[in-house]
Symmetry: C2
Subunit: 303 residues, 2 copies
């Protein structure tokens, strides 16, 4: 990791954690149990990659400045990510007892509280969005973009978002994964939230419609590349290196990129997607370097 | 039921159902399973009381006119109500197999899909809010009010909303219910969504800050009265009359109004709360009659 990347990551984590600490009700706020459950999962060692993308996208659009409220916007994405993980981990879904080496929310607080803590993190995300500073029309645009990116897809007019991807993944279990299916699941289940991190950060920083279109295209390509790298690491790394149960995706016959294309081709495709993604940032010139270096780090990481 | 009330209910149900039909993805929209699960619970015979309160509150503020988008706003409240019912019914929470005589969402579609369908209805509520017509600052105010009314309470500064009430109810199980506890649970678990129906309808229709304060106070008092009547009916009516398992609250030692005050005093308190609530609407003059007649019907109903 270059010094530059390490600095961006460290400062992004610090900004995000301070905002989350302020935005989440305290562990001693009534009713206690749910606030403790929400904090347990929110402060369980997440890398804050999505908030960092929000922050760096905004910084790029604003020529190096950090727009007011940007850490709150990053925290919103982290709340939505955390709520989806809490619900994904439930016995009725992936039935995971551990995440990042810690007991999952339902193991620590019971299933009822885990369901409600996930619900409440989604609600808190919109509470936070509704209090963002800035032009109200732009705040509503951010709310609209985020709600669509995390939904199921509406009326067939939009690609499914995060929940839609989760459902496609469940529906696909036991089927032989095809390239088309795996790509659709990845784009929805994980890609949509990565993309919206970059798009929302840009819109909040004042991006023009043309800039937003480039950011969206960058996010879609980079988001798919990140997920391909995740899939590859799941196959090639040991559990110890990954910090979670390796090979779980393969073992449970989940739709993954290497299962369809093999490892070597997957690595090549991730590299090619990132090159295409970088081309989308040409018009931002040198301001794009920090965001590019983070993206490069994410596809080149080994764990 | 007077002819007038019957007309208001019928037209409110019609407006709401048409909006929900348009706003929910079709049963044949991919991914199928979740959209079918969302529709199953949304169109399971709900009385649409909350959307009707949204509509009638707006009509009162707008002197008899229906503001553009009001049925969508009513549908948002119904989506949030439905999501909370789907999650409440889950085995880890109330473990209910039937609601309004139909299989609950997890019985019909499995637990995983019920969890995700609840999540997606909450998301769809905010998608819909982000597309409401009108002044953006006022739309954000509505989003802020609704998100706080359905949350857990933040930083101790605000009373808990819907999820907070659900948690308080869970935490109270096995404890002897006190008057203070039962009131706090009712105000949060069911009162907050009733109140916000009336407040949001009014804000969307252009209510002044003073009018909004009266609407909030009306909603808090009337909402508590409705819940007391619900509690009383649960004790006094047979299962057949209620269309659900009667006496369930008592049997499971839940915090209810008659358990603390007895039936007779509960009935008197509901009547007294409604009288106080009506006084909050004095400044609206004759325009308040439809909303009052709905509130009167709700506390005088026998099932």
């Amino acid at each position: 990791m270059s010094e530059n990347v390490a600095e961006i990551l460290t400062s992004g984590v610090k900004l995000t954690d301070a905002a989350l600490e302020r935005l989440l009700p305290g562990a001693d706020t009534l009713p206690h149990s749910i606030h403790r459950a929400m904090r347990h999962s929110t402060f369980a060692g997440g890398k804050r990659l999505r908030p960092i993308l929000v922050i760096e996208s905004a910084r790029m659009v604003a020529h190096g400045k950090l727009p007011e409220g940007i850490a709150d916007l990053g925290s919103v994405i982290e709340m939505l990510h955390t709520y989806s993980l809490i619900h994904d981990d439930l016995p009725a879904l992936d039935n995971d007892d551990l995440r990042r080496g810690q007991p999952t929310c339902h193991v620590a607080f019971g299933e009822a509280m885990a369901i409600l803590a996930g619900d409440a993190l989604q609600t808190l995300a919109y509470q936070t969005l509704s209090q963002l500073p800035g032009d109200p029309a732009r705040v509503i645009e951010v709310i609209r973009e985020i709600s669509f990116a995390t939904g199921t897809g509406v009326g067939g007019k939009l690609p499914p978002g995060m929940i839609g991807g989760q459902v496609m993944d469940i529906e696909a279990e036991g089927q032989k994964p095809t390239a088309e299916l795996v790509e659709a699941i990845h784009r929805a289940k994980t890609g949509a939230l990565i993309t919206i991190s970059i798009v929302a950060g840009g819109i909040h920083a004042g991006a023009t419609a043309a800039q937003t279109a480039h950011l969206r295209s960058f996010g879609e390509k980079a988001g798919l590349a990140f997920q391909i790298v995740d899939d590859v690491l799941d196959v090639t790394q040991s559990s110890e290196e990954l910090g979670k149960t390796a090979g779980k995706d393969t073992a449970s016959d989940k739709a993954t990129w290497p299962a369809v294309f093999g490892i070597e081709a997957s690595v090549e495709q991730a590299a090619s997607l990132i090159a295409d993604a970088f081309a989308e940032l040409d018009s931002f010139g040198a301001s794009a370097e920090p965001l590019k270096s983070i993206a490069r780090y994410l596809v080149e990481r080994k764990h």
